[in-house]
Every structure is written in structure tokens, then in C-alpha cells.
Symmetry: C2
Subunit: 226 residues, 2 copies
DNA sequence: AAAGTCACTATTGTTGACAAAATATGCCTG
DNA sequence: CAGGCATATTTTGTCAACAATAGTGACTTT
């Protein structure tokens, strides 16, 4: 029997997942103060497991909690979102470098396949930004796990991506430059396939930097307000 | 009244702090399976707040929890410790760059003062590795907060440093190269004072890389076993 | 009339008891 | 004698009642 398989989903895990997706999807608006009992009735939970989940969410930075004053979903300014991208830049750069050094050939093949699927997705779903965002997430997810750096993957997948995705939903994938992003993805995978870690790191950093500037520009143009 | 001041320390906060320091100091050995009731009696707590704290610790990666099977302190291999240093390298590099761009003049003055204090400390306490480690922590702490990147500081101070410190205690500051480290620190501060972000990033990355290789060497030489 | 204080209410923090699950032990069987 | 199954015990997960705190509203006082 595998060790890391979770046999039973505890109520606390359930609460954690429910709340996390609710926050990411925007069902719980940022800044909104929300009582524990209301959350309980909304997700059919009891306060014990709920409080445990709240603690986890808090330490992940998705909500803030003031003693005796309730919890509220964290509201991130555009400046803070830009800071998140700066962190992603260096961390995912490292992930790409280590992935180039350590990914198995099978994983690299899977990466190619993934990109092909994304290309098809982009052709079909013109403007279906949501699915493109999911594809993008899938790509970065594979690189993070491919780095064989457990802590790095945990920090990227467990912390940063949730916060970024939270804004992706609201901005409805501000990226909006699917073809260009796909090309950049292809180049990164190429570098990884050639086991050129240095190049993979450079390309990944530039890729995320471009995504950040793109969002920044869109926000500056008006329209996009968080 | 400041907003972010915590008026009341809840039992859960207390539990969190107690457990965290116990883990960092090694009072709770890695890999050791430990029951909830034992923890309660040991820290004069009740199970409710304790469980909340356990959840937080788990999501920070300091302990692992299997449903119905108890918690155990995470045990990190030397390989994983090296991976932590790789993450530190890129993240603290970013922190140094942003600190160079954003620190106030007062903060930079304080940095200089800190380094002077470290120098005096090294002269006096020959071989008192523990205090040197604390000084090192102080330096990196100031850079992290000086970056004005809240999430970056949170990830460094709230996640990585605790895990690194956990091993510092066991290795009794494997660094063991206080003078060299101090010189590197001075150069980094110099770059920050000149507002040269690029240089500060480069020097910080090299500094952490050197620390990593130093530990690696010491471990390879034998003696140091985790 | 305005401001400050006091009491009240609603919400959170805490506690101890109860239920469910996993591990360990002992018995039975092959 | 060894291996597997069933049971028992220990430990965790869950729940509901209790206590404490902060926010709110009304009342008094200046």
C-alpha cells in the first residue's frame, strides 16, 4: 500500500478544499468579512474542522484573521500581484533549470504532448480564455513537479499559484496572448529537452516577465480593475 | 491604534509558537511520532487549539500528518537541505535586488550598524557558533523585510528560514566561516547602499551558493551527519 | 446637542465528551 | 510453527455546550 495515499478525507480537508476553491473562484469576495457560523451552514460543516481549515488558509496567506473579530478574504492590490510575478520569475526560473537537469525522458515527451493539446485548444476555443489559463497552469505545474525539488514545488503549487489563479478568474486570464505564450512555452520545452538548464531558466524568466508586463499594461490601459 | 497589532494571543497562537520553536530547537526530533495528548500535557494545552496549530505547521511543511495515524516531525535529508539552499539563492537574490531599490536610508544605516555588531560578536565569542548564526539570521531578516515585497518576506521568514534554522541547530552553524561571511555581507550592503540592485542580487546569490557548498563539503568530509 | 461611558449582544475562542478509525495483539487455522 | 483474521485498545476526528472578547447601541453627562 502506498504511504502517501490519503485513505480518508477528513472534514477538515473537505473544508479546506471547499474554502480554497471558493476563494479562488471568487465566490468569497476579497475583503468580505464572513462569520464562522455562516460558513458552516454554507458548506455543511461544523466549526471544529472549519477552524482547522481557516488556520491552514491563513498560514497560506489566502485570508486574514483577527482574534475575536472574524476572518476576511485577503485582498491583494495590483502592486502586490506584480510582486507575486517577480517571485514567480525567479522561482520558476530555478524550476525550469532543475527540470532540464532532472526530468525523465517520459516527462519531456508528456510536456510536448501537453503543448500540442494546448495548441489544439487555442485553435478551437477562440477567446475561451478560461481553458487557456488552465492549459497554462498545466504547463507550469509540470515544470514545477519536474524540478524534483519538493519544497520548490510545494511553494509554487501550494502558495503562489492559488493566489495568481485567484486573480486569473477575476481578470479572466489577463494573459490574453495565447499564441505568443505557446511559442515561448515551446522554446522552454526545447531547452529542457536539450538538457540546457541555463537556457531554460533564462527563457522561463523572460516568459513570466513578459506575462507580468502584459498584465501591467492592460491594467494601466484602464478596463482591468481588481 | 495600529491595525495589525494582535491584541490577544490565542491559545492556538501560543501552541503554534511553542511547537515551532520546539521543532526548530530539536526538542521534537525529526521522524519522531508523537501523540496529541502527549503534546497537550507537555505544553499545557488542550486539543482544540493544538490541532489548529498542527494544521498550520503541516501546511508550512514542518510536520506531516496522516489521518488517524498521528503527526511526526518532518525529517529532511541532506539532499533536501541542499535544495532549500538553491531556493534561498534565487529568492534572497531577488530580495537583495529589491532591497537595494527600496530600502530607506535609515534601514541601510541600521544594516551597517548590525554588521558592526556582528563583527564585535565574532571577535569576542570565538567559536560561539550559535550567536554567529543568530547574527546571520538577523542580517538576512533585514534584507527580506527591506525588499518591501510582503509575500517574498513571508515565504522567506515564515517558511524557509525555520527549516534552515532547524538544521543550523543540529549542525551547530555548519557555516563556520564567520569572517568570510562577514566580508560577503559587507559587500552586499555596500551594493545596496549604492542602490545597485543587480550587483546586490549577484553578490547575495554567490554568498548563499558559497554557504551551501561549504555545508556540502563539511558533510562530505564526514563528521557532520544529520 | 455632542461626546463619552456603560451594558448588552453577537461572534469567536476554548473545553471536554463522544464517535470513528487504525494499529497492535492474540487467537485460530492451515 | 507460521500466517491470517478478528477483536480490542489506543489514538485521532468530530461535535456541541460553555466562556471570553469585541463591537454596538443606548443612555447619561457636560
Amino acid at each position: 500500500m502506498p504511504e502517501d495515499v490519503i485513505q480518508t478525507y477528513t472534514r477538515a480537508d473537505e473544508a479546506f478544499d471547499c474554502l480554497q476553491t471558493a476563494i479562488v473562484k471568487g465566490d468569497l469576495a476579497p475583503g468580505e468579512k464572513i462569520g464562522e457560523v455562516e460558513l458552516c451552514s454554507r458548506f455543511n460543516l461544523t466549526r471544529g474542522p472549519l477552524r482547522e481549515a481557516l488556520g491552514r488558509l491563513e498560514s497560506r496567506g489566502l485570508l486574514v484573521r483577527r482574534p475575536h473579530a472574524g476572518v476576511k478574504v485577503v485582498s491583494v492590490s495590483t502592486d502586490e500581484l506584480m510582486e507575486l510575478y517577480r517571485i514567480r520569475e525567479v522561482m520558476e526560473g530555478l524550476a525550469a533549470r532543475q527540470a532540464a537537469e532532472r526530468m525523465t525522458d517520459d516527462e519531456i515527451t508528456a510536456l510536448h504532448t501537453t503543448l500540442d493539446a494546448h495548441e489544439a485548444m487555442i485553435e478551437q476555443a477562440h477567446g475561451q480564455a478560461y481553458y487557456q489559463a488552465e492549459g497554462d497552469y498545466d504547463f507550469h505545474h509540470r515544470i514545477a513537479t519536474g524540478s524534483r525539488n519538493a519544497k520548490l514545488a510545494q511553494m509554487l503549487l501550494g502558495d503562489l499559484y492559488y493566489m495568481v489563479r485567484m486573480y486569473r478568474y477575476r481578470l479572466s486570464t489577463a494573459s490574453g496572448r495565447p499564441h505568443m505564450a505557446l511559442g515561448e512555452h515551446r522554446r522552454i520545452v526545447e531547452a529542457i529537452a536539450q538538457r540546457d538548464g541555463e537556457l531554460a531558466e533564462f527563457l522561463m524568466k523572460r516568459h513570466i516577465n513578459a506575462a507580468r508586463r502584459n498584465i501591467e499594461r492592460k491594467i494601466a490601459e484602464g478596463g482591468l480593475t481588481i
